[in-house]
Symmetry: none
Subunit: 220 residues, 4 copies
DNA sequence: TATGAATGAGTATTCATTCAT
DNA sequence: CATGAATGAATACTCATTCAT
């Protein structure tokens, strides 16, 4: 049972941030069991124990809420990468880089799902202004983490850092789509003869990432 | 009053297949300029010069129509790969395989787009029966082409053929999502400071594929 | 009990016109007991015995439906005036013109109500195209009937015909607003001391029209 | 810490009236550029430099605020008429009365707009109590000014004073509706062929008023 | 077969008003 | 008194699908 907040109305910036987080958590909870398209604002509000209109106090549109979720996930991801890359001293090989990068996305299924629909859904009903803000922030972190990558990996040339991140995201999103179709579809994949279509995300993502990074290492 | 032209009613199997093709072509035409979500059955029918209801004579649902399109694209893709792999004799290196595989997906943007939404959209509103038929056929071609790959590439171990195809698709889909967001979003990407988010599909897909295959070659 | 139509689906132009009329009649029925703002599309559809979506087969928007109603009312009004002005031979005095004009609006409360909200509500959610079509038609009938007026009334100078129609509409709308506020308000007007605010439409409209026309007659 | 400025809290009746006036002025300002339906409480509050909730300290509902505006306008109008009718000695002809009455409404577009929606909008969401108070006050001024009219104009019989005021309002409201539809609609009226629908308020109102009063003068 | 009229489920969003702070 | 966060009612419209013609 979650602690109820001590207030009914969030007036301080802290309380407001907290309430925003409550809404994001509610969205996360609902997304755990349903497609993004099937999660309605009403559901999220109900899950958060708030009224529908309150959602619109904190987010201008439904899409902005999901972008908020994505920002959280991206913060977590980049943060984890940055910490890992700052730790330790020596140079990193492709194999070590694989071990560093793979779990960061393997453990973030929601990030994979949100990235998969970012361009086609999330940004559709977004004012240009918040859309740009989001993109700038994302670009900034890509650049920063890409630089760290280049510093720690001798086999990465200038520009390769960002490129590795893009390729990693691409692999994760593409395999995510193969590995976890909508629940209704997932059932069918158990049918005999469909083995070639069954994709176990964790294993395949690791394999592909290792191959990719190894290839880069050898090529450069 | 003279008889209406015989082709107004598609009686023979040939005529039926022809009309089916007309509808698929119409869908292709519409998809060239719009998001899949924005292409309605009515539009497709109108483009084909038929009535809305007629679409449902040839396809049980809107999704089945798009699956039909995807089947065509997959047929073309696998056919091209199979022909290329059957041609020539010697063993294929990672570099040669890259040159063989990359254009097959670079030239098929529609295939990439459809694969991206296969699990989350297309198969959502499909009867289990046609869904299974589609999947069996796909699995079959994956297996067949995968075998061919393994035969021609010494660096591929058993099972790696299908895996390469999966990884290739994953890369293509993931980069597609990054490279071509919905039109409304694409405009924003021109803003300064967003360079790290701009992805040129052709170049990045080739680079990633080469790295991936090279990595496989060296590892195995 | 109204006759049910012999068809379920209106395919012939006649049947379609009939069904359109059924929807307009349903709207009329609902408007008899409620403010225009309180009449929903769902109510109209239910009253017509049709589904909500069917309304949108015949009218692009809710407003277009009400404009259709207004067009009917205007057709009736102008038709009545034209017939009356075509009948009889001699010249018409102000008094006779009053007798001719007044009942035509006294008997059309719906016309008065719709005219009152034409510019502020009805035309708000109308595509420019149908809006223009409506306005051209209205302008045409104003001009035609205005000409007839000028022919039969010596005291009307060129241009006065249309002007009389405008002034008549203005009076009717203005008095309508005074005489028949929303039901919730109407009750209050019975309170003692509010006699100066009670307006009996028929009487006042006749008096004002007679004065107006008499004034015109003497002035010109 | 010094005391906050004394005026931040409106304690004295004077200060309260002042703040009320600030809100009414803000409403006037917003109404100058927008339809009444498009002016929100939030906008008014912002324009007044106050918070949304503060509006409800001074007015029970949004409608009550607009009624307050209307009361101001009516006060100004009746005041002007009363002063004009008290001034001068001799009897007033229809022509002179026209010159006296017409500018009083020509110069009050906001009064016309508010009167047009009084019964259908403003009084909809009003408690009976303030509604009655407003109506009694209005009735009183109608009676008083009507009496003055009857005193100065021989051609007005008992009861005609109030009636003239009613008819004048009716004309003003009706012509207002014709002359100034919502901005979105106004653009269309420039189209060729729509001349019969273009109404210039000032000119038409004067013409109609003169005819009306002249008619009254001759009839009585 | 072909048609296109009829259906009806499904939901984000606004904003006047309230009330905790 | 002043604030502004929270509320929740209320509704037009789309479009895939069906089925009468």
């Amino acid at each position: 049972m979650p602690d109820l907040p001590a207030y009914r109305r969030a007036r301080s910036p802290t309380a407001k941030a907290e309430r925003r987080a409550v809404l994001l958590d509610a969205a996360r909870e609902r997304l755990a069991g349903a497609e993004l398209a099937d999660v309605s604002v009403a559901q999220i509000a109900r899950t958060a124990g708030l009224a529908k209109g309150t959602v619109y106090v904190y987010f201008r549109t439904r899409e902005e809420l999901f972008i908020g979720l994505l920002e959280d996930e991206l913060d977590g991801w980049f943060g984890e990468l940055d910490r890992a890359l700052a730790t330790g001293a020596g140079r990193i090989t492709a194999a070590a880089l694989t071990d560093l990068l793979v779990p960061s996305l393997t453990n973030r299924p929601l990030l994979r799902r949100l990235l998969a629909v970012l361009g086609s859904v999330l940004e559709q009903n977004l004012d240009p202004d918040p859309a740009l803000r989001f993109k700038w922030r994302l670009a900034g972190r890509m650049t920063a983490t890409g630089s760290l990558l280049e510093k720690r990996c001798v086999f990465l040339r200038p520009g390769d850092g960002v490129r590795v991140l893009q390729q990693l995201q691409a692999l994760a999103v593409g395999l995510q789509v193969q590995a976890e179709p909508a629940p209704a579809v997932r059932g069918l994949l158990g049918a005999p003869g469909l083995e070639p279509l069954r994709v176990e995300f964790d294993r395949e993502f690791r394999a592909a990432t290792r191959a990719l990074l190894t290839g880069l290492e050898r090529t450069n």
